[in-house]
């Protein structure tokens, strides 16, 4: 007997939360949505910073595949109904191998923006359902397509803080000079 997939999912979600909280020295806060209608496992924000948050979905495997001798791969595949697919810079995936011997996440883990993942993970649309397959090498010397998304577990907190900072910068709403908003007759016009 080994742990069930429900236990595995729970353990990995909590491992992820632990590495974010401890790795950011407590700066990162996580909230678990009451319902999972939008496929988010966590809403993540930096303490005291409102308005910018990253949503994250956590996926894991408790075994690695040997696709060739001495090369271990993290294989993950899942389906998403087309109307529920979220492509957003604020929606990320976290992938990890739960090493049952180590009783924790093994390095490397992977933090992938949803837009990149949906392009790179061999997407197939069939009967209104997207199927994604990821096969990421776990070997230190690998240079595969998932290499740039690698993060060591102990670095996850810092990586998420960086992502949050970049998102905040990229999506900052430019504010007009002080006093303009209160000037009589001023109308704001936005482009779509």
């Amino acid at each position: 007997m080994r742990i069930s997939s429900v236990q595995q999912g729970l353990i990995v979600e909590r491992e992820f939360a632990k590495f974010l909280m401890m790795g950011s020295a407590g700066a990162i806060e996580l909230a678990a949505p009451m319902s999972d209608d939008e496929r988010r496992d966590y809403e993540i924000h930096v303490r005291g910073q409102y308005g910018v948050g990253v949503a994250c979905q956590v996926k894991s495997a408790a075994t690695l595949q040997h696709m060739s001798k001495n090369v271990r791969y993290l294989n993950i595949f899942f389906d998403v109904r087309a109307e529920r697919l979220v492509n957003s810079p604020f929606f990320w995936y976290f992938f990890a191998y739960l090493d049952l011997e180590l009783m924790g996440l093994a390095d490397p883990t992977f933090l992938v923006p949803s837009t990149d993942f949906h392009k790179l993970a061999a997407p197939i649309l069939r009967d209104g359902v997207w199927r994604f397959s990821m096969a990421a090498s776990m070997e230190p010397k690998s240079r595969d397509r998932w290499n740039r998304y690698r993060v060591k577990a102990l670095e996850l907190g810092r990586a998420l803080l960086e992502i949050n900072k970049d998102l905040k910068r990229a999506h900052a709403v430019p504010m007009p000079p002080k006093g303009v908003l209160s000037a009589p007759g001023v109308i704001f016009v936005g482009s779509r």
Binding site: R14, K18, F19
Partner: protein, 188 residues
């Protein structure tokens, strides 16, 4: 707050993986009885182990010595103190450098903890301070309660099994009491 949740989750993870999924944990919706978890073995009902998880983010030395100690202090209102064979404490050093517990961890029955963790009472409050050596060569009183993280699942399975056994023998005894004319004798 974050530390408490991380320590509880870490403990739950070690029990689940270490028991190969046989241990199930439930978090009470209210904490009025100071239990962080109700623990039972999958499919085994009627006997649950209650556990409170305590952690420290650093270890220190005592009195200028070299040995490292896990020091955990907490207060309990006297009316809420539970000394019961089914209520245990789990105490551990949550090492920030590796972001997980360091060995050894400690699983201590509540009665033992309340007797020996420097108990002192001030009005309505009990104060407890655990000072357990983390050194391999230590011979302090907490040695029997040391458990390496990888062994936690197995250890809790044994504790639960012993409790079930003790519970079933006391049940047999209670059935005997119902036999008409039964007289209990004992040697002094």
């Amino acid at each position: 707050m974050q530390q408490g949740i991380i320590a509880q989750n870490e403990f739950a993870k070690l029990l689940m993986i270490g028991s190969r999924g046989k241990i199930e944990l439930a978090a009470p919706l209210t904490d009025e009885e100071r239990r962080d978890f109700e623990i039972h073995v999958h499919g085994q009902y009627g006997s649950a182990l209650a556990m409170q998880v305590k952690s420290a983010l650093e270890i220190g030395t005592i009195g200028g010595g070299h040995a490292h100690y896990l020091r955990i202090h907490f207060d309990v209102r006297a009316s809420r103190l539970v000394s019961n064979p089914q209520f245990w404490y789990f105490c551990a050093f949550l090492n920030p450098a590796i972001m997980r517990f360091a060995d050894p961890t400690f699983l201590i029955p509540s009665e033992e903890f309340h007797r020996h963790a420097n108990p002192s009472r001030n009005g309505d409050m009990w104060h407890f301070t655990l000072e357990a050596s983390m050194e391999a060569e230590s011979h302090d009183r907490w040695i029997p309660y040391r458990v390496n993280q990888r062994e936690l699942g197995k250890k809790v399975m044994v504790i639960t099994r012993d409790l079930v056994k003790a519970g079933s023998s006391s049940q047999t005894a209670s059935e005997l009491l119902e036999i008409p004319g039964m007289i209990w004798t004992r040697t002094v």
